[in-house]
């Protein structure tokens, strides 16, 4: 399976153009920046010349690998991306999951190389933003620069969340509550979600054993807090879950 390499030069039409004047690239992480600055579609041509639809990546395809030269960030348009590193003994450590509308590659901005691997967990399509061009544009469009910093700080905040000394229940609850918020922000349901990531990935991310993840979920299901059917999860009592997650999320 050939990887679609973010390093490859863009081909095809560079303008990501779906939708009308008001709904433009609905899953674009930067749409908020454009709209808040009051740019209309014609003025956005400058911005959109940067954007290239990349993919589809099949499940298991790598989008970039640790150590690859950094030249682009990408917004997930569809599917789920997992980032991970391999520790000293070669074991995989999951860093995070990226849903539609979220941006991967941000943690490479400071260095010349991607510091982690990004792999598609299912069929993934991306909006690739060439970073050199983006940096130039950002100096001309203050809203864009601000938005980029916003995204960066969110990313950093997300990463430190699960480092604390919390119980398995608390970690899993926090994970689900955050997922729920992220889905809701993108216009998806806050209570019904599809867990595209394998339980081993969830477990790895939360520093738990896979059996523990299932045990906690089973208990929460027995207590009526949520319902799981294969990969579909429904939160039945968001308040209860929020209470459990409160300690971790501190909000």
């Amino acid at each position: 399976m050939a990887d679609h390499d973010l390093l490859k030069a863009p081909h095809g039409t560079p303008i990501a153009d779906d939708g009308d004047e008001f709904t433009f690239c609905s899953t674009c992480a930067f749409s908020a920046a454009c709209l808040s600055e009051g740019y209309d579609k014609s003025q956005l041509r400058d911005l959109h010349v940067l954007v290239e639809h990349v993919g589809p990546f099949r499940e298991g395809d790598h989008i970039f690998r640790e150590g690859d030269p950094f030249n682009a960030i990408a917004a997930v348009r569809g599917g789920t991306v997992k980032t991970y590193v391999n520790d000293a003994s070669g074991r995989e450590q999951v860093l995070g999951f990226f849903l539609p509308g979220e941006v991967i590659g941000l943690n490479a901005i400071a260095s010349a190389r991607y510091p982690c691997n990004a792999v598609a967990l299912d069929t993934v399509v991306l909006c690739r933003f060439s970073f050199p061009m983006m940096a130039t544009l950002a100096s001309r469009m203050p809203g864009l620069q601000r938005h980029l910093f916003n995204l960066l700080s969110q990313d950093i905040g997300k990463a430190s969340l699960l480092a604390g000394n919390y119980t398995a229940d608390e970690r899993l609850a926090a994970f689900l509550v955050l997922l729920s918020r992220r889905f809701a922000e993108r216009g998806f349901s806050a209570t019904r979600m599809r867990l595209t990531m394998a339980r081993t990935d969830i477990a790895n991310y939360l520093r738990l054993a896979p059996e523990t993840v299932s045990r906690v979920l089973r208990r929460l299901q027995d207590e009526g807090v949520l319902k799981v059917d294969r990969r579909d999860l429904e939160i039945l009592q968001p308040a209860v879950l929020g209470e459990l997650a409160h300690h971790v999320l501190r909000d």
Binding site: L195, R199, T200, V213, S214, R218, R231, L233
Partner: protein, 472 residues
């Protein structure tokens, strides 16, 4: 004046309508799987199965497991049988078979995460008790070591037994091994019928085994009967029914004999002229339904009856019935792992069947390969239709609006063909289609297969020599 209040008759669970059954007597699958086994494709690779098993482990709460083990040997051929079996009296063949089974278990069990508990185990055949109780103990112990047996009280560990070749004391051993349910073959106690099918089995020896099952803690006993056998008469079958009902088994299965001698060699020993005519065949079924109904048995569906207190009957009333390869069960969706020659696995959205040919199964195991023969991965349409067929067979009802919401379809448009096929059944009173629902009527419950066939996409295709038994 003293009046006795009218006794309330419970709603009969089977409305027998001879004319209807006669009209709908046509071949059809039993839907223990959908798509059905004839559609499995050869060349299903070992890597495919490993991948499927791995994915099934990856669900946030991976499904629990059901295990099925096939023991193909029988000491003596029953002429009606169309099952996969090997006739032999050489007990050493059981030992060699078990040795290979243990090897197969060693290859298959590690593919499934160890927190996936086995809530159901079933031994079928052939004759599972071809293997002496000690060997069965060895088998179950090996399964218990390599899989994780559930310790829940409602786990179902069942074994099919031929009462002619098992002793009451053996039942005690089987119970100690962990079995808590048994299924006994009877078919018919009429001596003339027994001669014609080559299964001479005494009433006393059978009752002794049923009694032993009760004494040694078997949670339930099932009896298999067959109507439509050669030389069967209403009087003879009636006596059999009386004898069996007197013993009060918890469950009964009444199968219609499927005479397909071109497919099943053993059946060639049955003379066509000895078979009951269609009228008698229907009358035999009607007699069974009547006697069982009078005795308080509830019709579960698809040839199965149970006492009202039995879990299956309760589950059916409460909507908690499910169906898998082993038939009706109270256990919610499990992944099924099949072991042994011809056994079928159902993991995730795929089916895989082991080699049906014993030498091929043996060769694969000897070479350290999974003995897979054929299978398929279900597409989205397959999964949807399989779910609808499940609901029809277990709850007798489809909530079409819920299906539309869950699957994002327009039911009327997507299933235009199925609904057209249902219309004559509606007119015959087998189903009702109020807005948003497809409901099986009491009359229709006897013909669940026919109703399910309306949703079978594969029936349209020219069968490549696919043969199904008649639905009555």
């Amino acid at each position: 004046m003293h009046t006795t209040p009218p006794t309330v008759q419970p709603e009969p669970t089977w409305r027998f309508d001879a004319e209807l059954l006669r009209r709908y007597d046509r071949p059809g699958p039993r839907y223990t799987s959908y798509p059905t086994a004839p559609h499995f494709a050869e060349g299903f690779g070992e890597e495919d199965f490993r991948d499927i098993a791995r994915r099934s482990n990856d669900d946030p709460i991976p499904r629990q497991l059901s295990l099925y083990v096939h023991v193909p040997f029988c000491r003596s051929p029953c002429f009606y049988c169309g099952c996969n079996r090997v006739i032999t009296r050489d007990e050493s063949r059981g030992r060699t078979y078990l040795d290979r089974l243990l090897r197969e278990i060693g290859m298959v069990a590690p593919l499934f995460d160890c927190d996936r508990e086995v809530v159901q185990l079933h031994l079928g055949g052939g004759t599972p008790n071809f293997l002496a109780p000690r060997l069965l103990g060895e088998l179950v112990a090996a399964l218990g070591r390599q899989f994780s047996f559930s310790h829940a009280l409602d786990r179902d560990f069942s074994v099919e037994l031929d009462p002619r070749f098992v002793a009451p004391d053996d039942i005690e051993v089987l119970s100690a091994i962990g079995f808590n349910r048994t299924s006994l073959g009877v078919q018919d106690f009429d001596p003339r019928v027994q001669q014609a099918i080559n299964r001479v089995q005494g009433v006393d020896e059978t009752l002794a085994i049923i009694d032993a099952c009760r004494r040694f803690g078997m949670r339930s006993v099932n009896i298999d009967l067959i109507y439509g056998l050669p030389l069967q008469t209403l009087e003879g079958f009636g006596r059999t029914l009386d004898t069996v009902i007197d013993a009060r088994p918890d469950r009964l299965a009444i199968y219609g004999y499927a005479h397909m001698p071109r497919l099943f060699k053993a059946q060639r020993q049955i003379r066509d002229e000895d078979l009951p005519d269609p009228e008698t065949r229907l009358a035999l079924l009607e007699l069974a339904v009547e006697r069982l109904g009078d005795a308080g048995y509830e019709y579960i569906g698809m040839d199965h009856f149970a006492l009202p207190g039995d879990e299956l009957a309760r589950a059916r009333r409460e909507g908690g019935l499910h169906r898998n390869f082993m038939g009706y069960t109270t256990h919610a969706q499990t992944d099924l792992v099949g072991l042994g020659v011809s056994a079928i696995s159902h993991v995730g959205d795929s089916y895989v069947q082991n080699h049906r040919d014993l030498p091929a199964w043996e060769a694969a195991v000897d070479q350290g390969r999974l003995p897979l023969w054929r299978g398929l991965v279900m597409g989205t349409d397959d999964v949807l239709r399989a779910e609808l067929i499940q609901r029809l067979m277990c709850q007798g009802e489809i909530d079409t609006r819920q299906v539309e919401r869950a699957w994002g379809i327009d039911f009327g448009r997507y299933f235009a063909d199925a609904l057209a096929a249902l219309r004559p059944l509606q007119e015959d009173g087998l189903v009702q289609c109020p807005p948003g629902r497809i409901r099986v009527t009491p009359r229709g419950r006897a013909l669940l297969r026919i109703i399910a066939m309306c949703f079978d996409r594969y029936l349209d295709q020219r069968g490549e020599g696919v043969r199904y038994s008649r639905t009555i």
